[in-house]
């Protein structure tokens, strides 16, 4: 016991301090170094494939038909000063944020209600399960019809993409809660509301976090496709005001192929960034999972 006391010093601020102090170490530790090397190697390979087009007499698959990294970088440099490009970022982000926020705000209470009430589950779940296999993109034409603005219809499609995942995760998470925890709380005289707030809700939080993390990835898949299909909504004079998905499509139609790749990488960065944000939120919400 005393040995353990020496190892685990009781200071509660440990987590926070760990984060700031370890930043340089995090950037230059072994796995980060490997990541940097592997990304650089991938870019080098891409450059090689895109410029030579033939390796040992064989046409290079895929890479041979893609703009080379240097061309992409040049295109990116040009587009960085273009308001339309940033407008695309903004619009896609806004749509993702709207759809995702709505999916979380509605999906979490909805999932909890289903989890808590077998009656509710019996009535609602069959309909839910019937609608769930319909891909969000199949809703695009219909939602354009029944939402007043195109913006709302894209938000709705994104909402659907995230909604099912979040609800299912909440439901699954509630099922994994140890019944003994509820029994212990009940024995100690806790009210139903208290058990919900202090046992069920924190018990489901990790699953909510996991659901959100998967869902944010889906929203990016959906937003890009939705923007391509719907024509990106209010395109400006340049036609580049319709989000990153439309940016890609427009570049393709306009024949500026390096811009296609710029758009693709932009979405990669945006998706990565928003996933990281969700993960950060998740670790803040469930500190006990970090503390091991």
């Amino acid at each position: 016991m005393t040995q353990q006391a020496a190892i685990i010093t009781p200071d509660s601020g440990r987590l926070l301090r760990f984060r700031t102090a370890a930043l340089p170490r995090l950037l230059f530790n072994r796995s980060s170094r490997r990541a940097i090397v592997s990304i650089l190697a991938a870019i080098a390979l891409w450059q090689l494939g895109a410029t030579s087009r033939e390796w040992l007499g064989w046409p290079v698959p895929v890479l041979g038909h893609v703009p080379a990294p240097d061309a992409v970088l040049v295109a990116w440099y040009h587009v960085l000063g273009d308001a339309g490009y940033w407008q695309s970022w903004y619009q896609s982000f806004l749509r993702v944020a709207m759809g995702f926020a709505a999916a979380t705000a509605i999906g979490v209470p909805f999932g909890l209600t289903l989890a808590m009430s077998p009656t509710c589950r019996g009535i609602v779940l069959p309909v839910f399960e019937l609608l769930r296999p319909i891909p969000p993109l199949a809703w695009v034409p219909a939602s354009i019809l029944f939402w007043p603005t195109q913006e709302l219809s894209i938000d709705f499609v994104i909402f659907l993409g995230a909604f099912y995942t979040i609800v299912l995760n909440v439901l699954g998470g509630a099922e994994t809660i140890d019944i003994r925890l509820v029994q212990a709380a009940r024995s100690m005289g806790a009210s139903r509301i208290n058990i919900f707030r202090r046992i069920i809700l924190p018990g489901v939080l990790p699953s909510i976090g996991a659901g959100m993390e998967v869902a944010i990835g889906i929203t990016w898949e959906v937003v890009v496709a939705a923007e391509m299909i719907s024509g990106g909504g209010s395109g400006g004079a340049s036609g580049a005001g319709g989000g990153l998905g439309f940016f890609i499509w427009n570049s393709y139609v306009g024949g500026s192929y390096p811009d296609i790749v710029v758009g693709m990488i932009s979405i990669g960065i945006a998706g990565y960034g928003s996933s990281a944000l969700v993960r950060l939120l998740q670790t803040r919400l469930t500190p006990w999972l970090e503390a091991r």
């Binding site: 009781p10 140890d178 003994r180 024995s187 005289g189 806790a190 202090r198 469930t286 500190p287 503390a291």
Partner: protein, 276 residues
């Protein structure tokens, strides 16, 4: 005092019902340490859930202090097999949970939780989450979480299972000490005969499933007890032998092979008795 009258419990519908407890009657005396032993899978945990009020018996009745059990209550708290601490609460929040949930976490309530944390030696670990505690610490935290509510009856369902042998012995001695300080009614389930003899005033040996009391053994060894003294005490060994041979019989019913260590012990004891 807990009284079970002809309690039966079966799971499953109608014809397919599987009886887990059948016509089981016994009493747990007030301020006594009653230990229930039985082969694993004999329905002991089901009995515990019935006494705790988490489930209702299919037949018969359970009385606690002459009042029928209708649901869980803070007069009888359960310490479960393995940890059932709330993972998202620190040790202190876990211990404070009961009083706080009932709105009793006032000045004296706070003092009492801190006193109990001190008593189970976890005051320095009060801000830790359960996952950061060792197995033995988790068990002590859970004892404190139950004891803070000052239950008249403690129900412990194999609370020290899964601990290493040394920690387990320490925990048993520790809990015996706690109980001696403030006597209360204990219903303690175990499959470990040494643990049972060490703690019990009375030993209930349960039958193979469906559970029934096979025999009641009074353990009238002087307290405080110690493992070494029990090891050398002839009367303790005779009681252990009696309990083991019954358990062995019941375990034989559970699976043809029987219980090898128990068989060895019984054989060794028989030879020793014969040699005397």
């Amino acid at each position: 005092m807990i009284e079970l009258r002809h309690v039966s419990k079966s799971y499953g519908p109608g014809r397919f019902a599987r009886p887990v407890i059948e016509d089981c009657s016994f009493t747990v005396e007030a301020n006594h340490f009653t230990v229930m032993m039985g082969p694993s899978g004999s329905g002991k945990s089901t009995l515990i859930r019935l006494v705790a009020g988490f489930e209702k018996p299919s037949a018969g009745e359970i009385l606690v202090n002459d009042r029928p059990v209708t649901g869980p209550g803070q007069d009888r708290l359960v310490v479960f097999q393995e940890s059932a601490l709330f993972p998202w609460m620190t040790t202190r929040e876990n211990v404070q949970y009961g009083p706080r949930a009932r709105g009793e976490l006032t000045g004296t309530g706070r003092a009492r939780t801190d006193f109990l944390l001190e008593k189970v030696g976890l005051h320095a670990f009060r801000e830790r989450y359960p996952a950061q505690l060792s197995g033995g610490m988790q068990r002590r935290a859970e004892l404190a979480r139950a004891l803070v509510n000052n239950p008249a009856i403690m129900i412990l369902d194999e609370p020290f299972r899964g601990l290493d042998a040394l920690t387990k012995k320490m925990m048993i001695e520790y809990y015996a000490g706690l109980s001696a300080e403030s006597p209360r009614t204990n219903l303690f389930v175990t499959t470990d005969v040494d643990e049972a003899i060490f703690l019990a005033n009375r030993l209930l040996v349960m039958s193979h499933i469906p559970a029934r009391v096979r025999e009641v053994i009074e353990v009238d060894l002087p307290r405080p007890r110690s493992f070494t003294r029990i090891l050398l005490d002839g009367r303790a060994n005779a009681l252990k032998m009696a309990a083991l041979s019954l358990l062995h019989e019941e375990a034989m019913k559970a699976f043809g092979g029987g219980n090898i260590p128990a068989a060895d012990f019984i054989e060794a004891h028989r030879r020793r008795v014969a040699a005397m």
